[in-house]
Amino acid sequence: MAKEVKDVEVRKGREKVQVRFIRPYCFICEEEAGVVTLKLEMPGVAKDQLEIDVDGNELQITGKREEGSSEGTYLMRERPSGTFRQVYTLDDTIDRNRIEANLEGGVLTLTLHRRESEKPRKITIKSS
């Protein structure tokens, strides 16, 4: 797990602030031709703490997880703390306007559709 945690410098006004990002585990598949399913495991992220942005060719997913209780002493600490973040580059075949998102039980499911013009199709030969 520790390999998936990354400290990134982010500009906040004039200052540079170190923010800790966790890369969520992913599962990407194409269930049927033209529909790509992207699943990201983000346990502890509530719906209002999740941001999904499409910026040009970039799909940015950021999810804040609830902060652990500050009081008390940790006897064991294996879960990474920080903010989940992953950036994907979308290629031209993906329709930017048809992206559906669903968050359930700590798993974010994004459904991406390929553009109609990019789908494989058969060309029939007209007989004259």
């Binding site: 599962f27 049927e32 002493t73 006897l75 064991m76 294996e78 700590g106």
Partner: protein, 151 residues
Amino acid sequence: MALIRWYDRDLEPVGTFDWLQRQINDLFDFPRFPETQGLFDRRISPAIDVIEHSDSFTVECDLPGIDQKDIDISIASGVLTIKGEKKTEQKSEKRKVYKKETWEGNFQRTISLPSVVDADKVEASFNNGVLKITLPKREEAKTKRIELKTK
């Protein structure tokens, strides 16, 4: 309390070399999945946190994508066991998988509890893929403040 992971750090020379070799091996080891060491056939152990408060213990466990009814929590003779199964559905056989980092199957996590835990008052909640178990301490074990009387 056997809550902390056990590391062999004896001062005897043979043990030290073993430990050094394990550390070096760990450097080249990139774990994709949660640790799969342990007893039982349920080999996946999800990550947990154990936090001690003045009147209780809290155990938090990451279980994303798992149905609440597939989680089984039990306490028997001072041992807390979290086990269950993570199921995934496959809609069509023509499915093309591009990348898979997630795990599925049976999982189990076992921790021995200190004797001060009151096993009858344990509560558990499951929210956004995080399991939270609250284990209150017995009345006589709670930290008490003793006030000084001034004469």
